[in-house]
């Protein structure tokens, strides 16, 4: 019943004919395949690894051993956000052990042939996968986005499994790699919500939170989203749904590629469950991402997942020629790729003059960059607001990008009954 069949190439790798590192990778892949009852392995076209941060001595030893065995990735492989902004050493003390540890981890991956794009938004990179590609991605928001919005195929991979997949170029054929496991299951109706909410960025993140907490391991289906929905709104939904639950894929009827209509999204079946989303669900999600603290706002953090070009343009319009208030730090996280792309525009100079600090390669909610903040953090990211309080021990308040920018400039934030004020 648990018979895994390997082809000749795979068997040769497993038997060590292509070196110790490939045999090591195949051993882990076969163990995972056995545990999951997979019958075969599938070739992958790319990988995105989460192990790009410093977690300790054991991780460094394991990576060094692999490098010493000559391990090389055999498909294009990118790395997730690291534990520090490696592009800006000036943000850290000279002997900062966390910074150095993160550098070491990233260098070891580089020796294995990984591309040093340290981002949680690999779909912004030029090697974006295409519909139907089998890939091995392990960052949760990117997994949801790849399966749902791009129509590529990946399970939620894990640290080391993703690396072994990249070294062997294979992944066990289970879960979302298989057609029959990609059918929509839980139908969410949005009929009961005010129409104007459906054009708001913050709304889609709150909807993601509601759906992520409600749908368990099933594949959610969203009906009646406007076809004008933006890619940033879809990834906002993806990030929040993945942070709050176990979502790895969703369908949006008439919007996502495997859901041109309800019948196709459900693979000709009927939904296992139907749930009408009420305005109150969205308010409750907003409350969950609100702090009860009266402390003044001390920092505004934008960009989790990493800010897109389009979001930078939106931000640029909102800031105009204004400057941030002296009592507030405005931190903007993006990838070095998107930041590089913006260098030909007026945006970098504008943000610097406004007093903003741009952070690349990492995420501000687990780095040391925000740890010394005294007061509240305001963020336009549901994911940041979900993880930040636990990671950093700070009160965090979710707000729209408009409200975030207003607060960064005026130095204060006015609690609003609504989840957005525009």
């Amino acid at each position: 019943m648990r018979a895994l069949t390997l082809d000749d190439d795979e068997q040769a790798m497993r038997d060590g004919w292509e070196g110790k590192a490939k045999a090591f990778a195949m051993d882990l892949l076969c163990r995972v395949a056995y545990a999951q009852g997979a019958k075969k392995l599938l070739p992958i076209t790319q990988a995105h690894l989460v192990g790009s941060y410093h977690s300790g001595h054991a991780n460094l030893s394991l990576l060094r051993a692999l490098v010493d065995q000559g391990a090389q990735v055999c498909v294009p492989t990118t790395l997730n956000a690291s534990g520090a902004d490696l592009s800006h050493p000036q943000y850290y003390a000279e002997e900062d052990s966390e910074f150095r540890g993160n550098c070491d981890v990233v260098k070891l991956h580089q020796k294995m042939g990984c591309r040093i794009e340290l981002t949680c938004a690999p779909y912004h990179l030029p090697i974006r996968p295409e519909r139907g590609d089998n890939i091995a991605w392990a960052e949760s928001n990117a997994v949801v986005f790849a399966n749902s919005v791009i129509g590529a195929r990946t399970n939620m991979s894990y640290q080391y499994l993703d690396l072994c997949a990249a070294i062997a170029g294979r992944i066990p054929a289970t879960g979302l790699y298989l057609d029959q496991n990609r059918a929509g299951e839980t139908l969410y109706s949005l009929d009961g919500l005010p129409k104007h909410w459906l054009s708001n960025d913050a709304f889609y993140q709150l909807l993601g939170l509601v759906v992520g907490r409600d749908c368990g391991h099933s594949i959610p289906v969203l009906s009646k989203l406007p076809t004008s929905i933006t890619e940033d709104q879809l990834r906002g939904f993806s990030a929040a749904a993945a942070a709050a639950g176990s979502v790895a894929m969703f369908h949006a009827i008439g919007v996502t590629p495997e859901a041109p209509d309800m019948d196709t999204a459900l693979h000709g079946s009927t939904p296992k469950r139907v749930r009408k989303v009420q305005p109150n669900d969205i308010s409750q999600a907003y409350a969950l991402l609100s702090s009860s603290s009266d402390a003044p706002v001390a920092a505004v953090c934008l960009g989790a997942p990493h800010l897109s070009r389009e979001e930078f343009q939106q931000l640029s319009k909102l800031i105009g020629s204004q400057e941030t208030h002296p009592s507030i730090r405005l931190l903007i996280s993006t990838s070095r790729h998107v930041w590089r792309e913006l260098q030909g525009t007026a945006i970098p100079a504008q943000l610097l003059e406004a007093g903003a600090q741009v952070v690349v390669d990492t995420c501000t909610y687990y780095g040391s960059l925000v740890r010394e903040v005294q007061g509240q953090v305001l963020t336009n990211s549901a994911k940041w607001a979900y993880y930040g309080p636990g990671n950093l021990g700070l009160p965090v308040q979710f707000a729209s990008m408009n409200s975030c920018v207003e607060a960064a400039i005026n130095g204060r934030w006015q609690r609003s009954e609504l989840f957005f004020n525009d």
Partner: protein
């Protein structure tokens, strides 16, 4: 009542120790302190207890996909469980436990349970794992 049970061995090996039944899935990344083995997830029912040297009965893991790295550090520091019984499929435990072998450490055996007879598993009671076999050691 039977004192032996057979599961599916995912990582072979022998181990014994007191059982700790986890009432909810845990995140090894951020939920367990690798320098002590203590459960530090404030929302977890077993928060404050240690997994060190225990046979863990685990209903899966949750949270970050970087869980295997955190479990690897915990095992490397000798603060991990002596064995793991999986009530649900769980790749984090499988990956972390498998890879600790490449750092010249003995892995905790990992057994996937195919049955859970009522009353067989009791926190604090000693059990022994021998590859796919689980034996209760009281009396």
């Amino acid at each position: 009542m039977t004192s032996r049970l057979q599961g599916l061995a995912l990582v072979n090996g022998q181990a014994s120790g007191p059982l700790l039944v986890m009432d909810e899935p845990i995140s090894f990344w951020g939920g367990v302190d690798p320098s002590s083995g203590e459960i530090i997830d404030r929302l977890h029912p077993q928060c404050g207890q240690s997994i060190r040297g225990k046979i863990l009965l685990l209903p899966g893991t949750r949270g970050s996909t970087a869980g295997p790295g955190a479990l690897l550090e915990t095992l490397f520091n000798a603060n991990g469980p002596s064995g793991v019984l999986l009530a649900q499929d769980d790749l984090v435990t499988l990956i972390g436990s498998t890879l600790i072998q490449s750092l010249q450490k003995t892995p905790p055996p990992v057994v996937k349970l195919t049955a859970e007879p009522p009353g067989f598993f009791i926190t604090g009671t000693h059990y022994q794992i021998n590859d796919a076999w689980i034996q209760k050691l009281t009396n």
